[in-house]
């Protein structure tokens, strides 16, 4: 045994977050890229809705051409929850059979693991939404977007994705097994979609469900996205009942932003607490 005295360097008092965050995000992206199901499976159902079911409904119900556009945006509201839920699933895989235990012993704040995963979920969702919109355009579905409108769309999409990923991360931290996680996905990702005005305006719902819909972040997100890409403020009006579309959009953006902020903060807290027994 060596008993020689050694000098132990004192670590820097402040850990830089950018380098580790980039490392964690790159790692998550590499793992995701090697799991094609995470990239493509969430796209299937929304594309089916946008390209097959919406045109079929239009024909069957003799609705106007804009209904396809209405549903195309509505399917974004399905794509985002499905994709973020798939991303959350990989957190459980990482915990059970991946390198998460090693990452928890790294000299970095554990919240960075959540943020790293979030960045990748956001990038993949953006890619998928881009594909969905591109496919819709290729199918002849018309959007009526201005520069400002695109910003409203992006703001709503990004904030809603951030909030939904927070929800997925919380669920992944609290649920021990993948099977239990998957069993909860329909209630979180699909049920609200039927109530949030994805396929029809929320005013078409029974009145008490219309009220419920007004409290769903997805309702606000979809109304904002339609306002942005279709210049259609009827969804916002159904929620707020005001005459100024910009004011209503601002209010809905605040709701989605609050949802994102709250769920992200909660997900970091829940993950960090679950990392320590």
């Amino acid at each position: 045994m060596s008993t020689a005295e050694i000098t132990i360097p004192i670590p820097k008092a402040r850990t830089r977050a950018v380098g580790p965050l980039a490392t964690l995000a790159r790692r998550r992206f590499q793992l995701t890229a090697r799991t094609p199901r995470e990239l493509f499976v969430p796209l299937l159902t929304p594309i089916m809705f946008a390209l097959v079911i919406a045109p079929a409904l239009k024909t069957a119900l003799h609705t106007s051409t804009s209904y396809e556009s209405f549903v195309a945006i509505g399917t974004v509201g399905l794509l985002i929850p499905l994709n973020t839920m798939f991303s959350g699933l990989s957190v459980i895989v990482d915990r059970i059979s991946g390198a998460q235990p090693e990452l928890l012993t790294a000299p970095i704040p554990r919240g960075l693991l959540v943020i790293g995963n979030l960045l990748v979920a956001l990038a993949i969702t953006a890619l998928q939404v881009g594909v969905l919109i591109a496919v819709a355009l290729a199918r002849g579905i018309h959007f009526n977007a201005t520069g400002t409108g695109v910003l409203w769309f992006l703001g709503a999409g990004i904030l809603f994705t951030v909030g939904m990923y927070g929800l997925a991360e919380i669920l992944a931290s609290r649920v021990p097994r993948q099977e239990e996680y998957i069993a909860r996905v329909p209630a979180i990702a699909i049920l609200p979609w039927f109530l949030a005005g994805a396929l029809f305006p929320i005013v078409a719902l029974p009145s008490f469900l219309t009220w419920v819909a007004k409290f769903l972040p997805l309702t606000h997100g979809l109304a904002l996205m339609r306002y942005g890409l279709l210049q259609d403020s009827t969804g916002l009006h159904a929620i707020w009942g005001l005459s100024d579309p910009t004011a209503m959009a601002g209010l809905s953006l605040a709701v989605v932003g609050g949802f994102a902020l709250l769920l992200t903060a909660a997900s970091i807290r829940v993950f960090s607490r679950s990392a320590v027994r």
């Binding site: 060596s2 020689a4 050694i6 850990t15 380098g19 580790p20 964690l24």
Partner: protein, 312 residues
């Protein structure tokens, strides 16, 4: 400065399970220290507290002077862990696994690459390092995890039952690798194991842990010396208490003789094994009787009344 200082460290899990009950120990810089005990003794909980993944209920612990509860990031910066279960990103290459560790522990990229190449050579992974980790055998993956843990030049390395679940050949191979770590005088190693030969072979000092308490702590040689140069083991048909009393009365056994079930173990300090066996035969006590050198299992058995092999 000690590399590890543990003071009255305790952990009670929700539900009231007391996994660790106020343990104290210190590990000098450069020492290889073993925590020896069966499953459920509190070894992994102790490592969990030292690596900040388990919150202590009471007491304190310091790594290289950093309190694990007050300065967890600093404590994690000077340490690395090799886990009981394989913990790698299987779809990534061996090199990428090591790079991620290096980046998170703040090793500069250029230095990290040189270090990875050096460790890949040292651990016999040079030809494998750019392959996905899921193509590695169990032993290769273990060596990869050891290399990963060393990329960041840790002051303290935790090896939590590193050979559990490996076949005997891979286990022997890995023990060689771990034994070689002893030459790195700057590295302090805390090894948990329930394998006696691992503790005897690899550790400068061993703490025997039983039901959350440290029941003995010394060098393997000193622990074994407490049981004399040899011991005699006999199986008794009747009362072991009476047999022990008779042996002590005749001066064959000392106060450290002990019985577990029908087996009586007599450490020999003054008598030769031949003299002891002859005396036991005269007393007409034993059916089967044998003499052998003591092992750490005997130390454990005497202290706890339980066999490590059986308990593990």
């Amino acid at each position: 400065m000690n590399a590890i200082e543990v003071t009255k460290l305790s952990k009670t899990y929700p539900g009231g399970v007391e996994a660790v009950k106020g343990i104290d120990f210190e590990v000098a810089a450069g020492e290889v220290f073993g925590l020896l005990g069966p499953n459920g003794a509190g070894k992994s909980t102790t490592v969990g507290m030292l690596t900040t993944t388990i919150a202590p209920t009471a007491g304190s612990a310091r790594l290289a002077g950093f309190d694990v509860a007050e300065e967890p990031l600093a404590a994690r910066r000077v340490s690395s862990v090799v886990f009981q279960e394989p913990v790698v990103d299987r779809s990534l290459t061996g090199r990428r696994n090591l790079e991620i560790h290096a980046r998170l522990w703040g090793v500069e990229p250029r230095e990290a690459q040189a270090r990875i190449d050096e460790l890949a050579g040292t651990f016999g992974l040079a030809d494998l390092i750019d392959r996905p980790a899921d193509t590695f055998s169990g032993g290769q993956r273990r060596r990869l995890e050891l290399a990963r843990a060393l990329v960041s030049h840790p002051r303290v390395l935790f090896l939590d039952e590193p050979t559990v679940g490996l076949d005997p050949r891979i286990r022997a191979e890995l023990l060689e690798v771990i034994a070689a770590l002893r030459s790195r005088s700057e590295l302090t190693v805390l090894l948990t194991t329930h394998y006696l030969e691992e503790a005897e072979r690899l550790c400068d000092r061993v703490a025997i842990i039983h039901a959350g308490r440290i029941v003995a702590l010394d060098t393997p040689a000193a622990l074994l010396a407490g049981l004399g140069r040899q011991l005699v083991e006999l199986h008794v048909d009747g009362s072991v208490t009476s047999a022990l009393a008779s042996l002590r009365e005749r001066g064959v056994a000392g106060p450290d003789a002990f019985a577990v079930g029908s087996r009586v173990t007599v450490p020999l300090h003054r008598h030769s094994s031949g003299e002891a066996i002859a005396a036991i035969h005269k007393l007409g006590l034993a059916g089967a009787i044998s003499a052998r050198e003591p092992t750490l299992d005997d130390v454990y058995l005497r202290l706890t009344g339980d066999s490590l092999g059986a308990a593990a």
